[in-house]
Symmetry: C2
Subunit: 144 residues, 2 copies
DNA sequence: TCTGTATATGCATTAATAATGCATCTTATA
DNA sequence: TATAAGATGCATTATTAATGCATATACAGA
């Protein structure tokens, strides 16, 4: 039980964008350098973030991506649900569990998952950007 | 984001014990046959269930294990927390994330995890045993 | 229109971790 | 003391996530 690095990278990207002035465009390479994470993986994350509508991506020269909405409008539950994939937290099939029809576990876990995401729905990208000034400092220090 | 088979097997074992008369002793082989799951893995699950105090195990001839408490007293959050392992749902180290000190993600996710387990704390082994008669039927049919 | 720079896409490979298998030890009891 | 049960440790396999690599596509500006 742990979110994937994939999801983690997506959130870090949003944080990086979130402390920028609205509409400012950054590239995948810039994020990779900032966090020292592999380009190939991030590539796919950025792509999905674009497809899901969290960021706007633009190809070609002077291309890159930027937030599609202000940080306080990007909800954590939405981002994590999408990046993480919204599958059940218990797998009653493959292989099929014989008691499945008489077992309430899957339903209770599904509700538990709902409780988790409902809690997260109270938070946005703005919520996880704790100390904006400190974040800016970290990034500029790393880049130099 | 999915519970491990390990945890799943543990819960299935408790369900199997839960529909038995109190104190009745079963063996690892019996559980393996009932669910068609590998003995080696279940071995370790049973061992931990014993260590954690959910079941009482007994070695040697005529040995086996039984529930250490009635089903309605065995809380789901306790069982899953123990079997699943209670580690953070995001890993800010290995490798260390540079923005960790300025990032609220880990704290919010920790609270989200808390919300999940708090929800589960309303349920017990008795809760996931939906249809006791049907369960009994499934097991006797499988055994024949 | 050509060239360079950016994301998009698919497939191959590696890494991490869970699951399983195997061997053997320990304990209890008939 | 033989047998049947769980306990334990290590080896192997399977699964899935992560990473690497190659190349396509799009866009901007010279």
């Amino acid at each position: 039980m742990q979110i994937k690095k994939y999801t983690d990278y997506g959130l870090r990207t949003l944080i990086y964008l979130g402390i920028r002035s609205p509409g400012s465009v950054v590239t995948i390479n810039e994020i990779c350098d900032a966090y020292d994470i592999p380009r190939n993986h991030l590539n796919k994350v950025i792509h999905q973030l674009g497809k899901e509508g969290f960021i706007r991506t633009k190809r070609g020269k002077n291309g890159g991506f930027s937030l599609a909405a202000p940080p306080h409008e990007i909800r954590l539950d939405h981002v994590i649900r999408r990046l993480e994939g919204d599958t059940p937290w218990v797998n009653c099939h493959s292989p099929t569990c014989t008691i499945e029809p008489a077992c309430e576990l899957q339903h209770i876990l599904a509700e538990g998952k709902r409780a988790f995401y409902q809690f997260l729905s109270n938070y946005t990208l703005a919520s996880i950007i704790g100390n904006k000034a400190q974040l800016e400092r970290i990034f500029t220090t790393n880049t130099l």
